[in-house]
Amino acid sequence: MTYRKDRRNFRENLYRQLFAILSFASLAFLLGITLTLFREGLPIFQHVSLPSFLFGKYWYPTHEPPEFGVLPLILASAMVTSGAMLVCIPLGLGTALYINELAGEKQRAVLKPLVEILASIPSVVYGFFGMAIFAPFLQNLLHLPTGLCALTASIILGVMAVPCVCSIAEDALSFVPRSFREASYALGANRWQTLVKVVVPAAGSGIFTAFLMGTGRVIGETMTVLMVAGGAAVIPRSFLQPVRPMSAAIAAEMGEAPVGSSHYHALFAIGLILFLITLGFSILAELLSRKFRAKLGGSL
């Protein structure tokens, strides 16, 4: 009897340990990646100072002598990301509101899976679509010298981020207790008033979390911007201009940068910047969503 019990305990313990190891594995990966980014990225600052790296206007990594100014790349990322959010926020939030608040059962049964399918399209397919169809279309429509520009990248990325923003925003909306809506209707508010004045403000920080997660997704997106943003490392002055976001620069150049060269370290340093930015967004989103849950939980 005791033998059997011992054996069961032993097995239980074993599984426990096993799963603990598995769950800590991702922590180990995170630590390893962070360490690598710092170790391979920091040596670039032996060649250029931090301010001239961050605020330098020219990116000529292979010229003799090389210039490592990543300001054009940072601004390109910022521009494409903000443009994408302008596309994505109304689309994503509108979809979430419609699915959660207004759509009937039948429509919801169709719309929700459709939005999820949008998320499952590989980014290279988006890139291909943008390059072969959407960019030439914009080029003809607006009489641009080239359709590969920040606007094209923004629109495509914006559409790509819709499922992410939509599903998190929808989660937030469904967290709003039924009693809130019922109270509002009881006071004589109509559907629109309830939606705008009660439901959305109640889910406010949750919706904001959705925007932040969407931003984090867009800023790190690589394949699509590599294919449609044009790739010109110049400080962007208009949305109709080709740009070179950070992720595209890393993807395009890493393969041919000799290991251990200053170009190699510079690309890692860009990766580090990108990592810190997305980390910042994730932390902010996490904090906000905690606050949001606490708020709704407390008011129940």
């Binding site: 390059m131 030439p136 080239t146 490392a233 993807a251 000799p258």
Partner: protein, 278 residues
């Protein structure tokens, strides 16, 4: 149960045998060790050739490294490599260094590299000289009307700055000048060709293997870009690719160079987008 044990034992034995075998071959090949270093343009040819050469001659172990032409020549002079890949002829300073060490650098042309300048098929311009190309790429010329075309803005398309084609174009056409920062940088020859094919005002450059009806190759200094013109050196944006050895090659070094310049080696040259010698 018994069966399982048998397979396990067999697997262990096989693995052990594998390790022993690998160890044995590594030791045996220590004498046939060959180091090739230098130009990243020549690198793909050297790598592919080394792979096939090693399959045919298991006793030879070849290490291929990049680093650039200069680094290749330097390490050849230092004796840390046996063959230096170079996308240019040696400089006078390098010859002097070799003489000081009592070494003799022997060039071996293994292939030719030619870069075609391409425009949209609808473009009226059918030829440019090198000065015009340089002015377009550095930003001094902005409209096709300045070089005899229609009044459209020129969209400059270039390869990524880390690529060998970019390096070659920079040397041959631009004389080392910087490409204008707002040029569209594309990650492959194919991408350059497809952007140019879709953009009426575009100019780009690709390896000879990437020409098609979708783009128009223009003449440079009045010379058409053909295999023959590249081979003869008449076409200005062409250059020989070298493998340098210290003194007359012998043994495995000679065998490898013979392989590269033979039928199979030249087939690799063509596959990698360069122009074979024959």
């Amino acid at each position: 149960m018994k069966k399982h044990t048998f397979w396990k034992a067999a697997a262990v034995l096989l693995t052990a045998a594998g390790i022993l075998f690998t160890a044995a071959t590594t030791v045996a090949s220590a004498e046939g060790k060959l180091v090739i270093q230098g130009s990243t343009t020549v690198l793909p040819i050297a790598q592919k050739a080394a792979e096939i050469f090693m399959k045919k001659n298991p006793h030879v172990n070849i290490t291929v490294r990049g680093g650039g032409s200069g680094i290749g020549i330097t390490s050849l002079l230092d004796g840390t490599c046996d063959i230096a890949n170079s996308s240019r002829a040696v400089k006078i300073t390098e010859i002097q260094k070799a003489q000081a060490k009592g070494l003799d650098l022997k060039p071996h042309v293994i292939a030719k590299d030619g870069i075609a300048v391409i425009v949209h098929p609808g473009n009226r311009v059918s030829g440019l000289n090198r000065k015009q190309i340089a002015d377009i790429y550095t930003g001094k010329i902005n409209s096709w009307s300045q070089v005899g075309g229609e009044n459209i803005k020129i969209v400059v398309v270039s390869r990524d700055s880390a690529s060998g084609t970019f390096e070659a174009f920079g040397e041959l056409a631009l004389g080392g000048a910087k490409v204008r920062p707002d040029a569209l940088l594309q990650a492959s020859n194919q991408a350059v060709a497809s952007v140019v094919a879709r953009t009426p005002g575009a100019i780009g450059y690709v390896g000879l293997g990437y020409l098609s009806d979708a783009v128009k190759a223009i003449t440079v200094d009045g010379v058409e870009v053909t295999q023959a013109n590249v081979l003869s050196g008449k076409y200005p944006l062409s250059r020989p690719l070298f493998m340098y050895t210290s003194g007359t090659p012998s043994g495995d070094v000679k065998n490898f160079l013979d392989f590269v310049m033979g039928i199979e080696g030249q087939k690799i040259v063509r596959e990698e987008g360069f122009i074979p010698l024959k």
